[in-house]
């Protein structure tokens, strides 16, 4: 490894960083040590972004198309795993049990669809953005690009606001600082990464953030598993006895067991059909999300795209197979308090630490002095954040978890802001406003867009942190992002690659009909209390409905394309483009 000035400075920085933290810790100033550790990690990422900076448009937009498989795999994984995945997903499983597992398979198996049906072809297309791909495929019809760009912004912007909220929450919970400060710092830092070198900087920062977040997630998990004794031989396979004990306790207290299927509400719906359709919608939505698709543009070649998705899912899986075990560990810790006298419960160290934050609540509803299961309620965030304390691990485990959570939120925010900045620059400015812009101007417009987006998203993020009902909308919108992506982008991209007779009219009709199908139901059932439709004994929730909208889009695209003449409407140039997608390199 050649030692450049950049690498030397990173090594020096890391040494100083570690020394300061250890020094403060040995002086028993754990609060300051944690603060330095958490904020210092931000500086580390900034250094890396600076070292990878560039002035070249190709590197800004698509990282020079130079990224290898394991690198892009790490970037895909950290881009994918947001602050919410890191902090709340295990908690959602702890709350919903088996009925929360559509999140696990839904947010992983979508990558299989990406691998077999999308990534290699997107890379082969040599376009720069998803709306551009859609427009080329629609014979350069600008309406298609416009719809694509609007969908890209709706989906990505709300997702970005959610990341800033998550960062604010992490900073607020761990360091006791105002959450809004966290949100603003996050948006400034993210602009600094992305502005330095565009996608090239962002990919490498993502890579580092992935490894930090996965080590952080696993540290607390391994620690807690060791204390809980589930290394027989390995936690992911060794928690059977713990689970059996938990189920026995639940039965003792007359509760539905944690693993009982189809008894809890998911996305506003219940039952097996809702479970299956929700998981499917999340899978289909995954491959329609712009910040996911954009990663496939950055790799060296088509072969790298295929292996890259494989590595991406492997790295994602390292977190997603761990979350259910986290959930079992947390519930097991809670169940340990069931039946205890309430004053004894209040003496537990983890209860004392977390009760003031409001993440757990203890009440004596029936006044019998003993803790019944329903008298201990918890917020989903406590499962990961509070795990070290629940199992009596030393203080620095919690700090490590905070660093990991920040890395997760920032890495997703990176990707989202880049996708929007590139979209604003190429899909709006260069396409509609100034097609003759020079490369240098494009990069500067890109940077200006980054700043604008960061300011706008911090304003919305601050509002969400201030106002709990607004923040509920943000959380709902992130879930619905998958519904809208599955309803608009996914069918059009897949059909566009695999079916030559899809034409521009079919594409636009498909996207519009998908959105029209999705939006009213999602708003009606999600916000206005409309009762969900029942199918096969199952109430269809808002997320499951995304699969329905996907099918409507597909059918409309096919029917309108056939009705308007199929491939006869498509120009020979675009037909050649489609053929080129499917030919060997």
């Amino acid at each position: 490894m050649r030692l450049t000035f950049g690498k030397i400075s990173i090594i020096l920085f890391s040494i100083v960083y570690a020394m300061v933290i250890v020094g403060l810790a040995s002086l028993n100033n754990t609060f300051l040590a944690s603060g330095v550790a958490v904020f210092g990690s931000l500086f580390l990422y900034f250094f890396i972004a600076l070292i990878m900076r560039t002035r070249d448009v190709g590197e800004f937009y698509v990282a020079g198309r130079s990224i290898g498989a394991i690198t892009i795999g790490s970037s895909i994984a950290s881009n994918w795993m947001s602050g919410a995945s890191f902090v709340s997903m295990a908690g959602v499983i702890a709350l919903l049990g088996f009925d929360g597992l559509p999140y696990i398979i839904g947010w992983t198996l979508g990558y299989c669809i990406a691998a077999f049906m999308i990534a290699p072809f997107i890379r082969k297309s040599a376009t720069y953005t998803v709306p551009e791909f859609i427009e080329v495929r629609a014979c350069y019809w600008s309406i298609a690009r416009l719809i694509g760009v609007i969908m890209l912004f709706i989906v990505s912007f709300t997702y970005l606001v959610a990341q800033l909220v998550a960062t604010g929450v992490i900073v607020g919970r761990f360091l006791g600082l105002p959450a809004i400060l966290g949100a603003i710092i996050a948006s400034v830092i993210v602009v600094a990464f992305a502005g330095s070198g565009g996608w090239k900087s962002v990919v490498w920062v993502n890579v580092v953030q992935y490894w930090i977040l996965i080590v952080a997630y696993w540290c607390a998990f391994i620690g807690a598993s060791y204390v809980a004794g589930i290394f027989n031989p390995w936690p992911h396979l060794g928690y059977g006895e713990l689970m059996a004990q938990l189920e026995a306790k639940e039965t003792l207290f007359n509760l539905r067991t944690f693993t009982e299927p189809f008894v809890r509400v998911f996305g506003g719906g219940t039952g097996q059909a809702n479970w299956l359709l929700s998981a499917l919608c999340l899978m289909l939505g995954t491959v329609g999300l712009p910040h996911v698709l954009s990663q496939f543009y950055l790799v060296k070649d088509v072969r790298t795209a295929r292996y890259g998705v494989g590595w991406g899912l492997t790295f994602i899986a390292l977190l997603y197979i761990t979350a259910p075990v986290y959930a079992v560990l947390a519930r097991s810790a809670f169940s340990g308090a069931w039946g205890m006298p309430i004053d004894q419960v209040m003496d537990l160290s983890w209860v004392q630490k977390w009760l003031p934050t409001g993440l757990i609540k203890v009440m004596d509803i029936n006044g019998d002095g003993l803790l019944q299961p329903i008298e201990l309620t918890f917020h989903s965030d406590i499962v990961v954040v509070g795990m070290p304390d629940m199992f009596g691990l030393p203080w620095f485990f919690t700090t490590v978890v905070a660093i990991g959570g920040l890395a997760a939120a920032l890495s997703t925010a990176n990707g989202l802001i880049m996708v929007m900045a590139v979209g604003a620059t190429r899909d709006i400015y260069k396409r509609f406003i100034n097609p003759n812009a020079s490369e240098q101007r494009e990069i500067w417009i890109g940077r200006a867009m980054l700043i604008l987006l960061s300011v706008l998203s911090s304003i919305f993020g601050a509002k969400a942190l201030d106002d709990p009902s607004f923040s509920t909308y943000v959380a709902l919108l992130v879930g619905w992002a998958f519904v809208f992506a599955a309803a608009s982008f996914t069918p059009v991209i897949i059909l566009g690659i695999f079916w030559k007779d899809l034409n521009k009219y079919g594409m636009v009709a498909g996207m519009v009909s998908g959105i029209i199908t999705a939006l009213p139901y999602v708003l009606g059932v999600g916000l206005y209390g409309m009762p969900p439709i029942t199918v096969l004994g199952s109430k269809i929730g808002t997320i499951a409905w995304g699969t329905v909208a996907f099918m409507v889009n597909t059918i409309a695209s096919i029917m309108i394309s056939l009705a308007t003449g199929g491939r006869k409407v498509t120009t020979p140039e675009v037909l050649k483009f489609i053929d080129a997608l499917k030919s060997p390199e």
């Binding site: 992983t108 299927p261 259910p324 050649k576 030919s583 060997p584």
Partner: protein
């Protein structure tokens, strides 16, 4: 018809005669591309059918899988949705990349 180097892979030769009128016409008349695409379509269909197992089919017979316990107490339906499906997904992707590597290596014929 494309020739094949038996040492580089075990996939049989592209057979020009296997093209029928129903097969897609590539606008540039590239027969090798057409045959490659035909094979790719088949592979894609097979892999998507395989994907249907961890994505949907494993989770359908719930009455059965929730009554079986594996690894000392983990119910099978939970194990499927929390671990097995994802492992199968990862294996499918790498297998796909491997098979496509072989397909890509089939040389240009005459």
């Amino acid at each position: 018809m494309a020739r094949i180097d038996e040492r580089s892979c075990s996939i049989k030769t592209y057979d020009r005669k296997s093209l029928t009128k129903d097969d897609e016409n590539f606008t540039n008349g590239d027969v090798r591309a057409q045959l490659y695409w035909k094979r790719l379509k088949k592979i894609t269909v097979v892999w998507m059918l395989a994907w249907a197992f961890p994505a949907v089919l494993f989770h359908v017979p719930i009455a059965l899988t929730s009554s079986i316990k594996v690894f000392n107490g983990i119910p099978l339906h939970w194990f499927n949705a929390s671990l097995l499906s994802i492992l199968v997904g990862v294996i499918l992707i790498f297998l796909y990349a491997f098979v496509m590597d072989k397909t890509d290596k089939i040389p240009r014929g005459r």
